[in-house]
Symmetry: C2
Subunit: 225 residues, 2 copies
Amino acid sequence: VIQTKNLKKSYVSGEIETIALKGVSVDIKRGEFTAIAGPSGSGKTTFLNIISGLDSQFQGEVTLAGKNITKISKSELSDFRRDHIGFVFQSYNLIPVLTVEENVEYIMLLQNIKKEERKERVISILNEVGLKGFEKRFPSQLSGGQQQRVAVARAIVSNPDIILADEPTANLDSKTGESLLEMMGMLNVEKNITFIFSTHDEKIMRKSKRMIVLKDGEIFQDNNQ
Amino acid sequence: VIQTKNLKKSYVSGEIETIALKGVSVDIKRGEFTAIAGPSGSGKTTFLNIISGLDSQFQGEVTLAGKNITKISKSELSDFRRDHIGFVFQSYNLIPVLTVEENVEYIMLLQNIKKEERKERVISILNEVGLKGFEKRFPSQLSGGQQQRVAVARAIVSNPDIILADEPTANLDSKTGESLLEMMGMLNVEKNITFIFSTHDEKIMRKSKRMIVLKDGEIFQDNNQ
Ligand SMILES: Nc1ncnc2c1ncn2[C@@H]1O[C@H](COP(=O)(O)OP(=O)(O)OP(=O)(O)O)[C@@H](O)[C@H]1O
Ligand SMILES: Nc1ncnc2c1ncn2[C@@H]1O[C@H](COP(=O)(O)OP(=O)(O)OP(=O)(O)O)[C@@H](O)[C@H]1O
Ligand SMILES: [Mg+2]
Ligand SMILES: [Mg+2]
Protein backbone atom coordinates (compact mmCIF):
# COMPACT_ATOMS: atom_id res chain seq x y z
CA VAL A 1 0.00 0.00 0.00
CA ILE A 2 3.06 2.27 0.42
CA GLN A 3 6.21 1.96 -1.69
CA THR A 4 9.22 4.20 -1.79
CA LYS A 5 12.05 4.00 -4.32
CA ASN A 6 15.38 5.60 -3.55
CA LEU A 7 13.73 8.26 -1.39
CA LYS A 8 16.08 11.15 -0.62
CA LYS A 9 15.46 14.26 1.46
CA SER A 10 17.64 17.11 2.62
CA TYR A 11 16.70 20.18 4.59
CA VAL A 12 18.36 23.35 3.37
CA SER A 13 18.44 26.55 5.38
CA GLY A 14 20.93 29.28 4.71
CA GLU A 15 24.29 27.61 4.28
CA ILE A 16 23.36 24.55 6.35
CA GLU A 17 22.26 21.47 4.37
CA THR A 18 21.23 18.40 6.36
CA ILE A 19 20.76 15.13 4.47
CA ALA A 20 17.95 13.39 6.38
CA LEU A 21 17.26 10.46 3.98
CA LYS A 22 19.89 9.04 1.63
CA GLY A 23 17.95 6.66 -0.61
CA VAL A 24 15.31 4.68 1.26
CA SER A 25 13.51 1.96 -0.69
CA VAL A 26 10.75 0.09 1.08
CA ASP A 27 7.56 -1.81 0.23
CA ILE A 28 4.84 -1.87 2.91
CA LYS A 29 1.84 -4.09 2.26
CA ARG A 30 -1.77 -3.58 3.35
CA GLY A 31 -2.42 -4.83 6.89
CA GLU A 32 1.19 -4.62 8.10
CA PHE A 33 1.99 -3.72 11.75
CA THR A 34 5.43 -2.25 11.23
CA ALA A 35 7.85 -0.33 13.47
CA ILE A 36 10.37 2.20 12.16
CA ALA A 37 13.15 2.32 14.73
CA GLY A 38 16.52 4.05 14.91
CA PRO A 39 18.50 6.59 16.89
CA SER A 40 17.41 10.18 17.50
CA GLY A 41 18.02 12.07 14.24
CA SER A 42 18.10 8.98 12.00
CA GLY A 43 15.21 10.15 9.79
CA LYS A 44 12.04 8.50 11.20
CA THR A 45 9.87 11.63 11.37
CA THR A 46 11.14 12.80 7.97
CA PHE A 47 10.19 9.42 6.46
CA LEU A 48 6.67 9.42 7.96
CA ASN A 49 6.02 13.03 6.89
CA ILE A 50 6.87 12.13 3.28
CA ILE A 51 4.96 8.84 2.96
CA SER A 52 1.87 10.49 4.49
CA GLY A 53 1.96 13.20 1.83
CA LEU A 54 2.53 15.97 4.40
CA ASP A 55 5.98 16.83 3.03
CA SER A 56 6.19 17.08 -0.76
CA GLN A 57 9.81 18.21 -0.98
CA PHE A 58 11.89 15.13 -1.69
CA GLN A 59 13.63 13.20 -4.46
CA GLY A 60 12.77 9.65 -5.52
CA GLU A 61 9.41 7.95 -5.91
CA VAL A 62 6.61 7.46 -3.40
CA THR A 63 3.51 5.42 -4.25
CA LEU A 64 0.51 5.55 -1.93
CA ALA A 65 -2.36 3.08 -2.56
CA GLY A 66 -1.11 2.65 -6.13
CA LYS A 67 -0.80 6.36 -6.90
CA ASN A 68 2.49 8.14 -7.48
CA ILE A 69 2.14 11.06 -5.08
CA THR A 70 4.37 13.38 -7.09
CA LYS A 71 2.06 12.99 -10.09
CA ILE A 72 -1.30 13.72 -8.48
CA SER A 73 -2.71 17.16 -7.65
CA LYS A 74 -2.35 18.74 -4.20
CA SER A 75 -6.09 18.60 -3.60
CA GLU A 76 -6.36 14.95 -4.64
CA LEU A 77 -3.50 14.14 -2.24
CA SER A 78 -5.04 16.03 0.68
CA ASP A 79 -8.48 14.43 0.04
CA PHE A 80 -6.80 11.03 -0.01
CA ARG A 81 -4.95 11.79 3.20
CA ARG A 82 -8.13 12.99 4.95
CA ASP A 83 -10.12 9.90 3.91
CA HIS A 84 -7.49 7.19 4.20
CA ILE A 85 -4.68 8.17 6.57
CA GLY A 86 -4.69 8.84 10.31
CA PHE A 87 -1.55 10.67 11.48
CA VAL A 88 -0.15 11.03 15.02
CA PHE A 89 2.48 13.78 15.22
CA GLN A 90 5.51 13.46 17.50
CA SER A 91 4.45 16.71 19.21
CA TYR A 92 0.71 15.83 19.13
CA ASN A 93 -0.31 19.09 17.35
CA LEU A 94 -3.69 19.37 19.06
CA ILE A 95 -5.61 22.57 18.27
CA PRO A 96 -5.43 24.60 21.52
CA VAL A 97 -8.72 26.51 21.05
CA LEU A 98 -10.77 23.34 20.49
CA THR A 99 -11.81 20.96 23.27
CA VAL A 100 -10.71 17.32 23.35
CA GLU A 101 -14.04 16.34 21.80
CA GLU A 102 -13.74 18.95 19.02
CA ASN A 103 -10.15 17.95 18.28
CA VAL A 104 -11.10 14.29 17.87
CA GLU A 105 -14.28 15.03 15.93
CA TYR A 106 -12.76 17.47 13.45
CA ILE A 107 -11.87 15.09 10.61
CA MET A 108 -15.35 13.54 10.69
CA LEU A 109 -16.82 17.05 10.25
CA LEU A 110 -14.79 17.37 7.03
CA GLN A 111 -16.15 13.99 5.95
CA ASN A 112 -19.76 15.13 6.51
CA ILE A 113 -20.51 12.40 9.03
CA LYS A 114 -23.80 13.02 10.91
CA LYS A 115 -23.60 14.65 14.33
CA GLU A 116 -25.09 11.71 16.25
CA GLU A 117 -22.59 9.27 14.80
CA ARG A 118 -19.70 11.70 15.36
CA LYS A 119 -20.58 12.14 19.03
CA GLU A 120 -20.96 8.39 19.51
CA ARG A 121 -17.61 7.59 17.95
CA VAL A 122 -15.78 10.30 19.90
CA ILE A 123 -17.11 9.03 23.22
CA SER A 124 -16.27 5.45 22.33
CA ILE A 125 -12.69 6.14 21.18
CA LEU A 126 -11.93 8.38 24.18
CA ASN A 127 -13.14 5.59 26.41
CA GLU A 128 -10.85 3.14 24.60
CA VAL A 129 -7.76 5.33 25.14
CA GLY A 130 -8.62 5.75 28.84
CA LEU A 131 -9.88 9.31 28.68
CA LYS A 132 -13.57 8.91 29.45
CA GLY A 133 -14.96 12.18 30.83
CA PHE A 134 -12.24 14.39 29.33
CA GLU A 135 -14.41 15.50 26.36
CA LYS A 136 -14.87 19.15 27.39
CA ARG A 137 -11.29 19.87 28.45
CA PHE A 138 -8.82 21.92 26.44
CA PRO A 139 -5.37 20.55 25.55
CA SER A 140 -3.68 22.91 28.04
CA GLN A 141 -5.70 21.24 30.79
CA LEU A 142 -4.21 17.82 30.14
CA SER A 143 -1.04 16.03 31.18
CA GLY A 144 1.56 15.19 28.49
CA GLY A 145 0.45 11.60 28.14
CA GLN A 146 -3.24 12.60 28.09
CA GLN A 147 -2.56 14.98 25.16
CA GLN A 148 -0.74 12.18 23.39
CA ARG A 149 -3.70 9.84 23.77
CA VAL A 150 -6.07 12.47 22.38
CA ALA A 151 -3.77 12.68 19.34
CA VAL A 152 -3.97 8.89 18.91
CA ALA A 153 -7.78 8.93 19.34
CA ARG A 154 -8.02 11.63 16.67
CA ALA A 155 -6.03 9.55 14.18
CA ILE A 156 -8.12 6.43 14.71
CA VAL A 157 -11.68 7.76 15.04
CA SER A 158 -12.33 8.21 11.32
CA ASN A 159 -11.50 4.54 10.60
CA PRO A 160 -8.65 5.23 8.16
CA ASP A 161 -7.01 2.45 6.09
CA ILE A 162 -3.54 3.52 7.15
CA ILE A 163 -2.38 4.87 10.54
CA LEU A 164 1.04 6.54 10.71
CA ALA A 165 2.04 7.23 14.31
CA ASP A 166 5.22 9.11 15.25
CA GLU A 167 6.32 7.98 18.73
CA PRO A 168 2.71 7.30 19.94
CA THR A 169 3.73 6.07 23.41
CA ALA A 170 6.71 8.34 24.26
CA ASN A 171 4.97 10.01 27.20
CA LEU A 172 2.97 7.06 28.47
CA ASP A 173 3.72 4.74 31.37
CA SER A 174 4.18 1.14 30.34
CA LYS A 175 0.69 -0.02 31.35
CA THR A 176 -1.09 2.77 29.47
CA GLY A 177 1.24 2.33 26.48
CA GLU A 178 0.61 -1.40 26.46
CA SER A 179 -3.19 -1.05 26.46
CA LEU A 180 -2.99 1.50 23.66
CA LEU A 181 -0.85 -0.88 21.64
CA GLU A 182 -3.24 -3.77 22.26
CA MET A 183 -6.13 -1.66 21.01
CA MET A 184 -4.20 -0.81 17.83
CA GLY A 185 -3.26 -4.47 17.41
CA MET A 186 -6.95 -5.38 17.46
CA LEU A 187 -7.81 -2.75 14.86
CA ASN A 188 -5.02 -4.15 12.70
CA VAL A 189 -6.29 -7.73 12.94
CA GLU A 190 -10.04 -7.04 12.84
CA LYS A 191 -10.14 -4.25 10.25
CA ASN A 192 -6.89 -4.91 8.38
CA ILE A 193 -5.75 -1.31 9.04
CA THR A 194 -2.09 -0.81 8.12
CA PHE A 195 -0.02 0.59 11.03
CA ILE A 196 3.40 2.18 10.72
CA PHE A 197 4.92 3.43 14.00
CA SER A 198 8.08 5.43 14.45
CA THR A 199 9.25 4.47 17.90
CA HIS A 200 11.95 4.10 20.54
CA ASP A 201 9.64 1.97 22.68
CA GLU A 202 10.87 -1.58 22.91
CA LYS A 203 7.34 -2.79 23.69
CA ILE A 204 6.15 -1.55 20.28
CA MET A 205 9.16 -3.07 18.55
CA ARG A 206 8.44 -6.46 20.20
CA LYS A 207 4.77 -6.32 19.22
CA SER A 208 5.44 -5.35 15.61
CA LYS A 209 5.47 -8.02 12.96
CA ARG A 210 8.10 -6.14 10.97
CA MET A 211 10.81 -3.70 12.04
CA ILE A 212 12.72 -1.34 9.76
CA VAL A 213 15.75 0.21 11.45
CA LEU A 214 17.05 3.53 10.11
CA LYS A 215 20.56 4.80 10.74
CA ASP A 216 21.83 8.15 9.45
CA GLY A 217 19.09 8.37 6.85
CA GLU A 218 19.45 4.84 5.44
CA ILE A 219 17.87 1.45 6.09
CA PHE A 220 20.25 -0.36 8.43
CA GLN A 221 18.09 -3.44 8.85
CA ASP A 222 14.68 -4.70 7.71
CA ASN A 223 13.60 -7.99 9.20
CA ASN A 224 11.00 -8.50 6.48
CA GLN A 225 13.49 -9.35 3.83
CA VAL B 1 17.04 20.12 50.24
CA ILE B 2 13.36 19.84 49.19
CA GLN B 3 10.57 18.99 51.66
CA THR B 4 6.85 18.97 51.08
CA LYS B 5 4.19 18.57 53.78
CA ASN B 6 0.70 17.51 52.82
CA LEU B 7 1.00 19.15 49.41
CA LYS B 8 -2.37 19.52 47.67
CA LYS B 9 -3.16 20.93 44.26
CA SER B 10 -6.31 21.19 42.21
CA TYR B 11 -6.84 22.81 38.84
CA VAL B 12 -10.11 24.72 38.55
CA SER B 13 -11.54 25.89 35.28
CA GLY B 14 -15.16 26.78 34.87
CA GLU B 15 -17.15 24.03 36.57
CA ILE B 16 -14.42 21.42 36.19
CA GLU B 17 -12.19 20.86 39.24
CA THR B 18 -9.39 18.32 38.92
CA ILE B 19 -7.56 17.26 42.06
CA ALA B 20 -4.00 16.60 40.87
CA LEU B 21 -2.23 16.14 44.25
CA LYS B 22 -4.05 14.93 47.38
CA GLY B 23 -1.54 15.44 50.18
CA VAL B 24 2.02 14.54 49.16
CA SER B 25 4.66 14.60 51.92
CA VAL B 26 8.22 13.91 50.88
CA ASP B 27 11.76 14.74 52.06
CA ILE B 28 14.48 14.83 49.39
CA LYS B 29 18.06 15.22 50.58
CA ARG B 30 20.97 16.95 48.84
CA GLY B 31 22.72 14.67 46.35
CA GLU B 32 19.81 12.30 45.76
CA PHE B 33 19.23 10.70 42.33
CA THR B 34 15.52 10.13 42.57
CA ALA B 35 12.85 9.05 40.08
CA ILE B 36 9.20 10.09 40.32
CA ALA B 37 7.23 7.41 38.49
CA GLY B 38 3.52 6.74 38.00
CA PRO B 39 0.83 6.44 35.35
CA SER B 40 -0.05 9.17 32.89
CA GLY B 41 -2.10 11.77 34.82
CA SER B 42 -0.87 10.69 38.27
CA GLY B 43 0.56 14.14 39.15
CA LYS B 44 4.30 14.00 38.28
CA THR B 45 4.47 17.22 36.25
CA THR B 46 2.25 19.03 38.77
CA PHE B 47 4.60 17.96 41.58
CA LEU B 48 7.76 19.09 39.76
CA ASN B 49 6.23 22.45 38.79
CA ILE B 50 5.40 23.15 42.45
CA ILE B 51 8.69 22.07 44.06
CA SER B 52 10.64 24.09 41.46
CA GLY B 53 8.71 27.23 42.40
CA LEU B 54 7.16 27.57 38.92
CA ASP B 55 3.62 26.99 40.22
CA SER B 56 2.71 28.92 43.33
CA GLN B 57 -0.94 27.88 43.52
CA PHE B 58 -1.16 25.01 45.97
CA GLN B 59 -2.02 24.13 49.56
CA GLY B 60 0.40 22.67 52.10
CA GLU B 61 4.05 23.49 52.78
CA VAL B 62 7.03 23.40 50.44
CA THR B 63 10.55 24.08 51.71
CA LEU B 64 13.36 24.61 49.19
CA ALA B 65 16.95 24.76 50.52
CA GLY B 66 15.59 25.57 53.97
CA LYS B 67 13.22 28.34 52.84
CA ASN B 68 9.44 28.08 52.95
CA ILE B 69 8.57 29.09 49.39
CA THR B 70 5.15 30.48 50.31
CA LYS B 71 6.82 32.94 52.70
CA ILE B 72 9.50 34.43 50.43
CA SER B 73 8.95 37.15 47.81
CA LYS B 74 8.35 36.32 44.14
CA SER B 75 11.64 37.93 43.13
CA GLU B 76 13.65 36.08 45.79
CA LEU B 77 12.09 32.81 44.58
CA SER B 78 12.83 33.48 40.91
CA ASP B 79 16.42 34.54 41.72
CA PHE B 80 16.84 31.34 43.71
CA ARG B 81 15.40 29.28 40.86
CA ARG B 82 17.69 30.93 38.29
CA ASP B 83 20.81 30.39 40.39
CA HIS B 84 20.11 26.97 41.89
CA ILE B 85 17.65 24.97 39.82
CA GLY B 86 17.90 23.59 36.29
CA PHE B 87 14.49 22.59 34.85
CA VAL B 88 13.71 20.34 31.88
CA PHE B 89 10.08 20.73 30.74
CA GLN B 90 8.10 17.77 29.41
CA SER B 91 7.53 19.73 26.18
CA TYR B 92 11.09 21.17 26.10
CA ASN B 93 9.92 24.82 25.85
CA LEU B 94 12.86 25.97 23.73
CA ILE B 95 12.63 29.56 22.52
CA PRO B 96 11.91 29.26 18.77
CA VAL B 97 13.56 32.55 17.72
CA LEU B 98 16.86 31.74 19.44
CA THR B 99 19.44 29.29 18.10
CA VAL B 100 20.45 26.16 20.01
CA GLU B 101 23.51 28.02 21.30
CA GLU B 102 21.44 31.03 22.43
CA ASN B 103 18.85 28.80 24.11
CA VAL B 104 21.51 26.99 26.13
CA GLU B 105 23.46 30.16 26.94
CA TYR B 106 20.49 32.25 28.09
CA ILE B 107 20.58 31.55 31.84
CA MET B 108 24.32 32.30 32.00
CA LEU B 109 23.61 35.70 30.40
CA LEU B 110 21.23 36.44 33.30
CA GLN B 111 23.98 35.38 35.70
CA ASN B 112 26.47 37.82 34.10
CA ILE B 113 28.94 35.09 33.17
CA LYS B 114 31.65 36.33 30.79
CA LYS B 115 31.17 35.65 27.06
CA GLU B 116 34.27 33.48 26.66
CA GLU B 117 33.26 31.19 29.49
CA ARG B 118 29.66 31.04 28.27
CA LYS B 119 30.73 30.02 24.77
CA GLU B 120 33.13 27.38 26.15
CA ARG B 121 30.51 25.81 28.40
CA VAL B 122 27.86 25.75 25.66
CA ILE B 123 30.17 23.94 23.25
CA SER B 124 31.24 21.47 25.92
CA ILE B 125 27.72 20.60 27.11
CA LEU B 126 26.35 20.26 23.55
CA ASN B 127 29.20 17.88 22.83
CA GLU B 128 28.31 15.89 25.95
CA VAL B 129 24.67 15.44 24.89
CA GLY B 130 25.76 14.39 21.37
CA LEU B 131 24.86 17.58 19.54
CA LYS B 132 28.28 18.89 18.51
CA GLY B 133 27.92 21.18 15.48
CA PHE B 134 24.23 22.00 16.10
CA GLU B 135 24.97 25.39 17.76
CA LYS B 136 23.59 27.64 15.00
CA ARG B 137 20.41 25.71 14.28
CA PHE B 138 16.94 26.78 15.36
CA PRO B 139 14.64 24.45 17.36
CA SER B 140 12.38 23.93 14.31
CA GLN B 141 15.37 22.50 12.47
CA LEU B 142 15.86 19.68 14.94
CA SER B 143 14.33 16.24 15.44
CA GLY B 144 12.20 15.61 18.56
CA GLY B 145 14.98 13.92 20.47
CA GLN B 146 17.49 16.60 19.44
CA GLN B 147 15.23 19.31 20.87
CA GLN B 148 14.91 17.30 24.04
CA ARG B 149 18.67 17.08 24.44
CA VAL B 150 19.03 20.85 23.95
CA ALA B 151 16.52 21.27 26.80
CA VAL B 152 18.64 18.99 29.01
CA ALA B 153 21.85 20.83 28.05
CA ARG B 154 20.20 24.14 28.94
CA ALA B 155 19.23 22.88 32.41
CA ILE B 156 22.73 21.57 33.19
CA VAL B 157 25.04 24.23 31.70
CA SER B 158 24.75 26.73 34.55
CA ASN B 159 25.90 24.12 37.13
CA PRO B 160 22.76 24.29 39.29
CA ASP B 161 22.56 22.53 42.70
CA ILE B 162 19.25 20.88 41.80
CA ILE B 163 18.12 19.51 38.42
CA LEU B 164 14.42 18.76 37.98
CA ALA B 165 13.79 16.92 34.71
CA ASP B 166 10.29 16.04 33.46
CA GLU B 167 10.54 12.95 31.21
CA PRO B 168 14.08 13.83 29.96
CA THR B 169 14.45 10.71 27.76
CA ALA B 170 10.90 10.26 26.37
CA ASN B 171 11.91 10.89 22.75
CA LEU B 172 15.35 9.29 22.83
CA ASP B 173 16.42 5.86 21.61
CA SER B 174 17.77 3.67 24.35
CA LYS B 175 21.47 4.22 23.53
CA THR B 176 21.18 8.02 23.47
CA GLY B 177 19.00 7.95 26.59
CA GLU B 178 21.49 5.74 28.38
CA SER B 179 24.47 8.00 27.63
CA LEU B 180 22.51 11.05 28.78
CA LEU B 181 21.67 9.27 32.02
CA GLU B 182 25.27 8.25 32.56
CA MET B 183 26.37 11.85 32.13
CA MET B 184 23.81 12.98 34.70
CA GLY B 185 24.90 10.17 37.04
CA MET B 186 28.48 11.49 36.89
CA LEU B 187 27.37 15.05 37.66
CA ASN B 188 25.45 13.66 40.63
CA VAL B 189 28.43 11.76 42.01
CA GLU B 190 31.18 14.28 41.18
CA LYS B 191 29.38 17.54 42.00
CA ASN B 192 26.72 16.28 44.43
CA ILE B 193 23.98 17.81 42.25
CA THR B 194 20.50 16.67 43.35
CA PHE B 195 18.51 15.08 40.50
CA ILE B 196 14.77 14.50 40.50
CA PHE B 197 13.36 12.93 37.30
CA SER B 198 9.74 12.40 36.41
CA THR B 199 9.83 9.40 34.12
CA HIS B 200 8.20 6.40 32.46
CA ASP B 201 11.59 5.12 31.33
CA GLU B 202 12.49 1.91 33.11
CA LYS B 203 16.21 2.59 32.49
CA ILE B 204 16.00 5.76 34.60
CA MET B 205 14.01 3.97 37.31
CA ARG B 206 16.66 1.21 37.47
CA LYS B 207 19.50 3.74 37.66
CA SER B 208 17.86 5.84 40.37
CA LYS B 209 18.83 5.30 43.96
CA ARG B 210 15.33 6.16 45.13
CA MET B 211 11.94 5.88 43.42
CA ILE B 212 8.74 7.60 44.49
CA VAL B 213 5.66 6.21 42.74
CA LEU B 214 2.60 8.45 42.44
CA LYS B 215 -0.90 7.15 41.80
CA ASP B 216 -3.94 9.41 41.43
CA GLY B 217 -2.19 12.31 43.14
CA GLU B 218 -0.84 10.40 46.14
CA ILE B 219 2.38 8.59 47.03
CA PHE B 220 1.75 4.92 46.27
CA GLN B 221 5.24 3.74 47.11
CA ASP B 222 8.56 5.27 48.19
CA ASN B 223 11.44 2.84 48.37
CA ASN B 224 13.44 5.22 50.53
CA GLN B 225 11.37 4.59 53.60
N1 LIG C 1 -3.59 23.00 33.41
C1 LIG C 1 -4.38 22.01 33.84
N2 LIG C 1 -5.70 22.23 34.01
C2 LIG C 1 -6.50 21.24 34.43
N3 LIG C 1 -6.11 20.00 34.75
C3 LIG C 1 -4.80 19.73 34.60
C4 LIG C 1 -3.86 20.69 34.13
N4 LIG C 1 -2.64 20.12 34.07
C5 LIG C 1 -2.81 18.86 34.49
N5 LIG C 1 -4.10 18.62 34.81
C6 LIG C 1 -4.66 17.37 35.33
O1 LIG C 1 -4.02 17.06 36.57
C7 LIG C 1 -3.71 15.65 36.61
C8 LIG C 1 -2.20 15.46 36.81
O2 LIG C 1 -1.54 15.95 35.69
P1 LIG C 1 0.03 15.86 35.51
O3 LIG C 1 0.37 16.62 34.27
O4 LIG C 1 0.73 16.30 36.75
O5 LIG C 1 0.25 14.31 35.33
P2 LIG C 1 1.57 13.48 34.90
O6 LIG C 1 1.79 12.46 35.94
O7 LIG C 1 2.69 14.42 34.61
O8 LIG C 1 1.11 12.76 33.57
P3 LIG C 1 1.96 12.37 32.21
O9 LIG C 1 2.79 11.19 32.58
O10 LIG C 1 0.85 12.04 31.25
O11 LIG C 1 2.77 13.55 31.81
C9 LIG C 1 -4.21 15.04 35.31
O12 LIG C 1 -5.43 14.39 35.51
C10 LIG C 1 -4.40 16.21 34.38
O13 LIG C 1 -5.51 16.04 33.52
N1 LIG D 1 13.08 21.28 9.70
C1 LIG D 1 14.33 20.81 9.68
N2 LIG D 1 15.34 21.58 9.22
C2 LIG D 1 16.61 21.12 9.21
N3 LIG D 1 16.99 19.90 9.62
C3 LIG D 1 16.02 19.09 10.09
C4 LIG D 1 14.65 19.48 10.16
N4 LIG D 1 13.93 18.46 10.68
C5 LIG D 1 14.81 17.49 10.91
N5 LIG D 1 16.05 17.85 10.56
C6 LIG D 1 17.26 17.03 10.64
O1 LIG D 1 17.09 15.85 9.83
C7 LIG D 1 17.58 14.70 10.53
C8 LIG D 1 16.46 13.68 10.70
O2 LIG D 1 15.47 14.23 11.52
P1 LIG D 1 14.18 13.42 11.96
O3 LIG D 1 13.31 14.37 12.72
O4 LIG D 1 13.55 12.74 10.81
O5 LIG D 1 14.79 12.31 12.95
P2 LIG D 1 14.08 11.27 13.90
O6 LIG D 1 14.59 9.93 13.55
O7 LIG D 1 12.60 11.46 13.89
O8 LIG D 1 14.63 11.67 15.34
P3 LIG D 1 13.93 11.64 16.81
O9 LIG D 1 13.92 10.19 17.22
O10 LIG D 1 14.87 12.47 17.63
O11 LIG D 1 12.57 12.20 16.72
C9 LIG D 1 18.12 15.19 11.88
O12 LIG D 1 19.51 15.29 11.83
C10 LIG D 1 17.53 16.56 12.06
O13 LIG D 1 18.40 17.45 12.72
MG1 LIG E 1 11.22 12.13 15.22
MG1 LIG F 1 3.71 14.95 32.89
